[in-house]
Symmetry: C2
Subunit: 330 residues, 2 copies
């Protein structure tokens, strides 16, 4: 942790954070953790690095997220970028800009939420910085590793004829947020809780991302903004068109009920809601069964095709069109 | 650059940033720069990584720093941590939390200041994130590289009998800040300008850090908080005492005049002012001439000794004591 310009409260918070992080024995690759000018780690052949920032009031709200949820979400969103590359999970470096009103106990809870996810995914929180600010800003840099640059999946590898697949289920995060915002919907308690958890604690698909990248996925991206945006990013980067069949989208349990209560098309939650942190990928048709095998028990759904041309086409069997004009992040 | 939750203004800013960063041909080691889920770089054997955050109003002020100064300072402070380890400079990952009032033109100026320093030091800005916030928060993660973990300098290697040295000159940043805050002092224009520059645009001592680490420095830390704090960190980490002779401290030109105008002891500016981003190091006496040779034309000053015991002792030949009680960062 940096010692730069830290008043007493920050020093104590840093010490408490160091105690929490010190609970886990340091992994073999960590030569120096927090406490020096920089961390030192044994490197793989290729470093895969992403930086992600969440701002309270913009990307999450402490009215709907506990501090531990916020910590989980900030690290989870960053690790999802490593998943989308198919990298091995390595280290995380965390900057906390903490408003005085948050208080050290809740700041520490935030770190706990992050450290629990790190422990579970095998990430090492190897360094950080704590500063004062007027609002909560959490920045996480994650560093993953790969043995070869070709073993990774990029956004630009999709080719005409490829299938389009997605992991897991969609729309759950957007539905969970609508419930958190007070929407009334008739749902079994367990379904409701699962949707809330989906929004508060997204799960980075690290093992699945590695499996897909090494088993023939030609392109991959994580679904952070919703596939309306993310599939378009992939199409644009690859110079192809992506066509998605709306009727095939795997919806989380309860999304249909929440959409009905909100007077929305369920597909809209899946397509524009975002924050599901599933993986959207493309692959040549001949890799299909290998990919399904590589996914093990995890769900893969084939939702479309790559064609020549450009842009994103969202199609429905009943010919209904999905209103995407002016769609906002829910 | 991440695409997460970005309104139009952020997308345009990200595109402008990408154009600025694209002006320089990508270095050999960069497999993927901004634009995918993560950057991919060819790694060295050991990764040396630090994350640093500066908040407008806490660590710098746009009343006294141009946006380009702020960008330079945020990257410079982070790179200084790599210098203090003796690492090769590698990549930087930048998160900008930008208040609407800053505006895209000034946000881009900030990136320009950062990119100019990156170009000059050989750092590659390989990724980033841009988000909206109510205040300016800039977080920089820097990744440097080393061929062996033993070639690096840590804070905990100082041994009783070692000499204590410092690069460059001290107190200039604190003096520059006092001038920026309106202090009147009689100074030649060039001296005044140099002090302002010293505060606004700290220079990371990357080459010097590598030279010292590989030529016998037993411990090293960068002077971000002032040696009263930083020498104590080094002493505590090494389990030794550090004694510094105040009369030997190399002061920047003009520090004496500014201190007099501010009715302060010049040594106080050097010792507690901070933000000089020089390197404080220790070394066995037999390495002294090797280190001086390795520094080339750069100034090294021997300012004290490591002894057994603990803590920091600040000594003056005339027996005067320096009031450090309740010292604050200037």
């Amino acid at each position: 942790m940096s010692a730069q310009s830290e008043p007493r409260g920050e020093r104590e918070l840093i010490a408490a954070i160091a105690r929490r992080l010190g609970r886990r024995p340091p992994p073999d690759g960590l030569v120096r953790g927090p406490g020096d000018d920089a961390a030192v780690t044994r490197a793989g052949k290729f470093a895969v690095t992403s930086i992600d920032t969440v701002v309270e009031g913009v990307h999450l709200s402490l009215a709907t997220h506990s501090p531990a949820d916020a910590g989980h979400k900030a690290l989870g969103a960053a690790l999802s970028d490593l998943a989308a590359m198919g990298a091995w999970c390595g280290e995380a470096y965390v900057s906390l800009a903490v408003p005085p009103a948050l208080g050290p106990a809740r700041a520490l809870e935030l770190v706990e939420g992050m450290a629990d996810l790190a422990d579970r995914t095998g990430a090492t929180i190897a360094g950080g910085d704590v500063v004062s600010a007027s609002e909560l800003v959490v920045t996480v840099t994650v560093v993953g590793w790969a043995d070869s640059a070709e073993a990774l999946a990029y956004r630009d590898g999709a080719r005409a004829g490829d299938l389009v697949g997605v992991t897991g289920q969609l729309g759950g995060s957007a539905a969970g947020l609508l419930l958190l915002q007070g929407l009334e919907a008739t749902l079994p308690r367990a379904t409701r809780d699962a949707l809330l958890e989906r929004h508060r604690r997204p799960e980075p698909r690290l093992a699945l991302g590695r499996a897909l990248a090494t088993t023939g996925a030609s392109a991959m991206i994580d679904v952070s903004d919703g596939i309306a945006t993310d599939a378009r990013h992939l199409a644009d980067a690859s110079g192809v068109a992506v066509a998605v069949e709306l009727d095939t989208l795997p919806l989380d349990d309860g999304v249909a009920e929440v959409a009905e209560a909100a007077d929305r098309d369920p597909a809209q939650l899946a397509v524009t809601g975002g924050e599901d942190y599933e993986l959207l990928f493309t692959a040549p048709p001949e890799c299909r069964s290998d990919l399904e095998r590589a996914a093990g028990g995890s769900r893969l759904t084939w939702i479309g095709r790559v064609t020549s041309g450009g842009g994103l086409v969202l199609r429905s069997g009943d010919g209904r069109s999905l209103d995407l004009s002016g769609f906002e992040h829910l």
